[in-house]
Amino acid sequence: MINPLKKIGAQFLDWADTVGGLVVMMGRVFANAAPWKLDGPQVWRSLYRIGVNSFPIVVVTALLTGAIMVIQAGMFIQKYGAYGLLGWGAGYSILREVGPILIGLMFSGRVGANTTAELGTMKITDQVDALRALAIDPVRYLVVPRVISMVFMLLVLVIIGDFAALFGGAITGQLLLGVDWKLFVWSIIEYIKLEDFTHGLWKALVFGYSIGIISCYFGMRTSGGAMGVGRAVNASVVGSAIAIFVFDYFITYAMH
């Protein structure tokens, strides 16, 4: 009887430890994010690598996501014959929810996991300690550039991704459902408001920040050799996924 309670207690402490560590990390990033403290070349390098790494996969994901949402909406719309609402139905869900969430998840997988693996490997090969020995703050040098780039990049990617998804949706609508793409576009313009679009962008910012902090946190905390890096990546993507869904809910709730 004691054992399950012990396990739950231990789990809780574990979570509390993680949450605490994340808050500390956020504080340190904030402290180091002042413009005069920024390591310019590192930020640029990070932006470039992340952008190049994730652009193709996000675009592909977005195209397919748009297509899928149109297919799903299509099944309902066909039933009620409301073809004029297809653009609105698909567009609304893509811009507000499905776009940011799926692009966020893909970004977490592609960039978040990569960042954790990178920092984790640096940690276990003592490169992080080497930086400290050279009086360079690892958070300022390694973490802050990555967090900033991830926030910025995810925002850009969601913007591009939204358009790609709507494009994919339009094509699918035309080819599969026989809904003229002009009707689709008109439906979007008529019914979708700017705030639907910006709603998704706010989410992108929050997701980018979360993925950045979480991936760097677990990367810097890696221990235990190659298996430790694997565990850190695991924790990073799981944590990011939870953060995405939880924050999505609260933002949705708050902005209504």
Binding site: G120, T121, M227, V233, N234, I242, F245, D248
Partner: protein, 284 residues
């Protein structure tokens, strides 16, 4: 394989440096060649997996491995799935309820339509994406470590086949648990949605829980997706793990590849199955 003999290393080879166009094509071609090689490897492992399910060694050891893997995949993901899909349910109902209120004011079909969408799309797909991250990294890291520490070589030297010994149990376990967890996800998400509908829009749970609109189509599509994802996720993850090169950095890279490949596979399969499902629906 091409024979390469460099018997006389002192012979000079004259090369022009590649121009901009060549560099661009190389930049484009490189990833495409790599993608093709990865896909081919996945198909190979998939084929071998099916072969060994039929022809491999079935015994106490195998059953034990499968159960162990099922625990790894299933039990340890339950909380994660519950949280993510619970929140997803709340989000979807919140948005849908808001729109329905604004446009038609009629929320009586909210539960029924939500259940359909959950079955057809969100439950299998999001569950699979969550498992792709959680389980994909685990399998890739495990197998990758075994490659790096030469345990996979040792398996082959001892007469065991890596795909038979390592991949099959994970594959069977993942397939079973994917279906089970999808069902679990539907339940959790639906309950979360019902609570949200009641709390924010005053929808009576009895009205919300409405199975009238559910058709065989929805069940089949959901099942087809769960099965397809249950095949794709372990295979992509194991392929990423088994193709590790280069020590600890390689393991880290393998886990990243596992997540990305598995997630992408899920989305591609989602598109294909949704499309085929739609086509079938139109014909009926």
């Amino acid at each position: 394989m091409a024979a390469k003999t460099t018997q006389n290393p002192s012979v000079e080879v004259d090369e022009e440096s590649p121009g901009a166009v060549q560099n661009f094509l190389a930049g484009l071609g490189g990833p495409i060649v790599a993608l093709y090689a990865t896909l081919r490897d996945m198909v190979r492992i998939l084929g071998l997996t099916f072969y060994y399910i039929i022809n491999g060694k079935w015994g106490a050891r195998r059953r034990r491995d499968i159960l162990l893997q099922m625990y790894e995949v299933g039990n340890r993901s339950i909380v994660f799935i519950a949280v993510t899909l619970g929140f997803l349910g709340m989000i979807l109902i919140f948005q849908a309820g808001f729109q329905a209120n604004r446009i038609t004011g009629d929320l009586s079909l909210l539960g029924a339509l939500f259940l359909q969408l959950l079955l057809r799309e969100f439950a299998p797909t999001i569950t699979a994406m969550m498992l792709a991250t959680r389980v994909g990294t685990g399998m890739a890291a495990q197998l990758g470590s075994m490659v790096v520490t030469e345990q996979v070589d040792a398996l082959r030297m001892s007469g065991a086949q890596p795909v038979d010994y390592l991949v099959v149990p994970r594959f069977v376990a993942a397939l079973i648990m994917m279906v089970v967890l999808t069902v679990f996800a539907i339940i959790v998400s639906f309950i979360a949605g019902a609570i949200t509908a009641n709390a924010f829009y005053g929808v009576n749970p009895r009205t919300f829980v409405d199975f009238r609109m559910l058709t065989w189509f929805d069940l089949w599509i959901g099942l087809a997706k769960a099965v397809a994802y249950g095949i794709a996720v372990p295979i992509t993850a194991c392929q990423a793990g088994l193709s590790v090169v280069g020590g600890s950095e390689g393991v880290g890279l393998a886990t990243t590849n596992a997540v990305v490949n598995a997630s992408l596979a899920v989305i591609v399969l989602d598109f294909l199955i949704s499309g085929i499902g739609y086509a079938i629906l139109s014909i009926l």
